[in-house]
Amino acid sequence: MPERRPEHERVRVQAAAFDPGQEVSAFTAALSASGAVVSFTGLVRDGATPLTAMEIEHYPGMTERAIAAMVADAMARFGLEDARVIHRYGRLSLRDPIMMVATAARHRADAFAAAEFLMDYLKSRAPFWKKEITADGAAWVAARDQDEDALRRW
């Protein structure tokens, strides 16, 4: 395994848009020992009512700390060569990428498990709050019990 990237380079919390494909290319190009790369991208999509926009509020400072801790945990638990988390905040449009996770390990089982682990923790433990704006008005997205339950498997 090569020298490991500092934790803070693995996490980006930003207002700017990003291209998940470009991130996957850059992430993959920097690997040296992995046989398996998994990526997850979350996109803004319509709910029951067509969406005008999504607004994401976050807790600057705590967000980066919380995600860096999750990434360090995933790196150790699944023996990853590298991992990446990018998460946007601010105003997003339909179909915009909201966030992505990438993981790299020797074998596929670890890369998949690490990506799912990070997604489960990001959903319920990273301080982001989504608001959906539709023709009917704006409404905060409610946390789902099944997202909280998903943490129990780890």
Binding site: M62, R125, A126, W129, K130, A143
Partner: protein
């Protein structure tokens, strides 16, 4: 003790402020909530039911029985909906 208190999402909207600076002698987060409820009707409404709320002390997620200790920043918010 001087404390910065932050509010997020619908809690922020209900209270009508993103942050407040205040002086408190509360020992725990629950004590602090009792104090905050007295500040306005918006606060009272926002903190009516703690079951649907989460809290952090100095950017670490904690439960409502956590001691404030020498905390400098406390935050209250609804369950997170990231990802």
């Amino acid at each position: 003790m001087r404390l910065r208190v932050l509010y997020f999402a619908w809690l922020r909207e209900r209270i009508g402020a993103a942050q407040e600076e205040l002086e408190t002698s509360a020992a725990t987060l629950a004590d602090l909530v009792t104090e905050l409820r007295g500040r306005s009707d918006g606060h009272a409404l926002a903190f009516a039911d703690l079951k649907g709320l989460r809290a952090a002390i100095d950017q670490e997620l904690v439960s409502f029985d956590a001691a404030l200790g020498d905390a400098r920043e406390v935050a209250f918010f609804p369950p997170m909906t990231g990802g």
